[in-house]
């Protein structure tokens, strides 16, 4: 760690941080000066890794063409609350929100199982397959006693999510605009996907879902980092919200 930082570096660093917070990423094509500054300036990198990243609870992910800013899991300032996310995804209640989170995780599961870290990997996943996968997984649930017990402790739980999902029709042929409702599974998936598109995480072509370079890089460099991963896995098994 540097003893002190030059005012010039701090200024550059702050500009870079603001730009990243605003846009989420900067690429070589558009903001190449800032990016090159970052890459060539050890002091600037040091400033980020020792001060900015831990303080702002973000992580920079430098890839060959783009620098991404990733909010850490427990980021209160640059993260969202459940309520904000409900609004962004245009969902009615937390039950639906839970389901949306679950669908996103299922989508990632279809793209990233252990072998898909290889060079040739899936190029797209169709709505139907995502629907089948989620349905299968939720059907598997419920026979165990553990869920029953857990259910009592929490208001929103998997059982209600499962019922919500399984009670939906697979699709509704009478609807012309898929995204206008969340009352059938295909529409629900469409809604989640349009949120993911807005976030730059996927591209859609009809009912085919393609993951973006951004997702690819964050999964490979952030989620696969053993330290980060163990943090995430602890979150999955934790019974309450972290303080």
């Amino acid at each position: 760690m540097f003893e002190s930082y030059k005012a010039e570096s701090v200024e550059k660093g702050f500009r870079l941080l603001l730009e990243l917070l605003q846009k989420g990423s900067i690429g070589l094509e558009h903001s190449s000066d800032l990016l090159l500054d970052y890459r060539n300036d050890l002091e600037l990198q040091d400033l980020f890794s020792n001060i900015f990243e831990p303080q702002a609870r973000v992580k920079l992910i430098d890839t060959i063409n783009t620098l991404y800013l990733v909010p850490e899991t427990d980021n209160r300032v640059f993260g969202y609350t459940n309520e904000q996310l409900r609004q962004k995804m245009k969902l009615g209640d937390n039950k639906e929100l839970y389901l949306a989170y679950f669908i996103i995780t299922c989508l990632l599961a279809l793209f990233y199982s252990s072998e898909s870290m290889e060079e040739v990997h899936r190029s797209y996943v169709k709505y139907e397959e995502l629907e089948r996968f989620a349905t299968l997984k939720l059907r598997e649930l419920g026979e165990g006693e553990k869920t029953e017990e857990l259910e009592r402790e929490l208001e929103i739980n998997l059982r209600t999510t499962k019922d919500l999902w399984l009670d939906m029709q697979e699709k509704d042929e009478t609807i012309t605009r898929l995204r206008s409702t969340t009352k059938n599974r295909a529409s629900f998936i469409a809604k989640v996907c349009s949120f993911l598109s807005e976030e730059g995480l996927i591209h859609e072509q009809g009912t085919e879902i393609y993951v973006s370079e951004k997702t690819e890089q964050i999964i490979r460099k952030f989620y696969s980092d053993s330290q980060q991963k163990s943090k995430l896995l602890t979150l999955l098994t934790a019974k309450g919200v972290e303080a």
């Binding site: 459940n82 169709k126 739980n157 598109s197 934790a238 919200v241």
Partner: protein, 512 residues
């Protein structure tokens, strides 16, 4: 037996890539039609669109193609909708529903099970909320070229051979086609290098350094050979054109000459593209270095299995809502809250109005866009011209003091900062290749020739040279600077190797 089975896995892999096509036979949907042929046709159509000048194709274009083929060869009429459906069916089948195809086989040479994974079609391009465009993957290209009995390493060389024969025999229409194919093949090599880049980015350990060195050495060698042949082809074309130009032409000959000109100009494109590969190779070298560093700083990266580790875990543990949100958080854009700022109350406001843009406004918008684009390009060009002028100075100014000097000598004389900056500028290498190709740089221009030199987008080296000579009259006593490659190579601090060049000044011939 050992020798019989040598390279067995490689051969099996070459065989595997045909399975998806044969599997089309089992499809129930179009039982009355020859689905294998139609699927193969779709691949050829995609290839056709990859040829020079054409755009990558989308689903509509494939539907259109299928409609035509089915109507002509199978005497069935398809509606637009049916054709689209059929296109989708084949696209989906030939992309295995988005998964790579995978075939297991017993490697008899090594005595172990092997799994070959590949894709035939890749996504070429997407636009947000627009159409996907498709291209053949390297394997897809391989498949098609193998049906023409050409080995991949020799593909370009063999096409070059074809082209030579076609020009010599005077079958120019076919020669034109061969040039287009050559373009695709060079592009294919480009893709192969790009793929290698991707592989390096994703996982550097999979591609061990020695493999890498071997592959690049092979490619380098091949590129050099091909380049020679291209030169001779250009000469042949010029010669052939000259025989036409020297006499009066019949209408048919006129037509042939036009074809020859088209072949020349397209060959020019192929050669440019081919030259670009040299630069890509250099980029690859520095990329590998970055990636190696990157992988060293990320030794803690592990594999991740979202199904087992996340989905199943959620089901098992009934993860609370808030924790699940946190787990997905890193994927989301940073959220910034907006606050009321009383000082901005008097700012001009944006009022939304439903208003369709008129034709004129659209034109104007387009023009603005165009203007911006132009300005951007201008800025890029200016920066590039600046760099090239710098490179020119670098190799020209030493001639004031020395008659003969080398690249190694020039580099050694640079300050450490200048040296570091220079070797990291990728276009410096293509500059060297370019001047080497030119053989010699003239140091004085005939006023008439000088007037003909104009500034263009790329390839304006002579223009920049003339400008530099204007600014440095002290160079004018000399006639030219000759450039030749020496046998040794100069290792650079960034791990790249460049040929050492020798520069020799030649006195001007007498002016009288």
């Amino acid at each position: 037996m050992r020798t019989t089975l040598k390279g067995f896995a490689q051969r099996m892999k070459a065989l595997c890539i045909y399975y998806p096509l044969y599997d089309l036979r089992n499809g129930r949907k179009y039982e009355g039609l020859d689905q294998v042929s139609l699927g193969f046709g779709v691949l050829l159509h995609i290839l056709d669109n990859m040829l020079i000048g054409a755009e990558y194709c989308d689903q509509n274009s494939i539907a259109h193609f299928l409609k035509g083929v089915v109507e002509e060869s199978c005497s069935q009429r398809l509606s637009e909708e049916e054709a689209r459906e059929m296109a989708y069916y084949f696209l989906d089948a030939l992309r295995n529903g988005g998964r790579p195809f995978s075939y297991a086989f017993q490697d008899l040479e090594e005595g172990r099970e092997e799994l070959h994974k590949f894709a035939l079609i890749d996504t070429a391009d997407y636009q947000v909320q627009g159409k996907m465009k498709y291209k053949l993957s390297e394997t897809g290209l391989d498949l098609l070229f193998k049906t023409k009995e050409i080995y991949s390493e020799l593909r370009i060389s063999i096409s070059q051979l074809y082209l030579r024969q076609q020009i010599e025999k005077g079958v120019f229409q076919e020669a034109l086609r061969t040039v287009d194919e050559l373009y695709t093949q060079v592009k294919g090599l480009h893709d192969r290098l790009e793929n290698m880049k991707l592989q390096v980015i994703r996982n550097v350990s999979q591609l061990s350094v020695s493999d890498y060195i071997q592959v690049t050495a092979e490619v380098q060698e091949q590129l050099k050979r091909e380049k020679e042949v291209f030169k001779s082809l250009q000469a042949l074309l010029k010669q052939t054109q000259d025989t036409y130009r020297s006499r009066e032409l019949s209408a048919r000959e006129e037509h042939n000459l036009n074809l020859l000109l088209a072949i020349s100009s397209r060959l020019e494109n192929v050669i440019n593209e081919h030259n670009r590969l040299f630069t890509v190779m250099l980029g690859l070298g520095s990329l590998l270095e970055t990636a190696l560093l990157d992988s060293m700083s990320n030794t803690f990266r592990t594999k991740i299995d979202f199904e087992r580790e996340f989905v199943d875990e959620i089901l098992q543990e009934n993860t609370p809502l808030d924790n699940l949100r946190q787990v997905l958080h890193p994927l989301l854009l940073p959220g910034t809250s907006r606050y009321f700022n009383p000082l901005r109350a008097l700012d001009s406001q944006q009022l939304t109005k439903d208003e369709e843009l008129t034709e004129e406004q659209l034109v104007e918008l387009n023009q603005q866009e165009l203007q911006k684009e132009l300005e951007r390009e201008k800025a890029i060009k200016k920066a590039r011209d600046g760099r090239y002028t710098g490179y020119l100075k670098l190799i020209l100014l030493p001639l004031l003091e020395h008659e003969v000097f080398t690249l190694a000598g020039i580099l050694a004389a640079l300050t450490p900062e200048k040296y570091a900056q220079l070797i990291n500028q990728v276009d410096f290498y293509s500059f060297l290749v370019q001047v080497h190709q030119m053989g010699s740089l003239p140091l004085r221009f005939d006023p008439q020739d000088r007037a003909k030199l104009i500034d263009t987008e790329g390839g304006n080296l002579p223009f920049l040279l003339a400008k530099l000579l204007d600014a440095h009259p002290e160079l004018s006593p000399y006639g030219s600077l000759e450039i030749s490659a020496l046998r040794d190579e100069v290792p650079l601090a960034n791990g790249n190797l460049v040929s050492n060049y020798m520069f020799r000044r030649k006195e001007a011939e007498s002016d009288v």
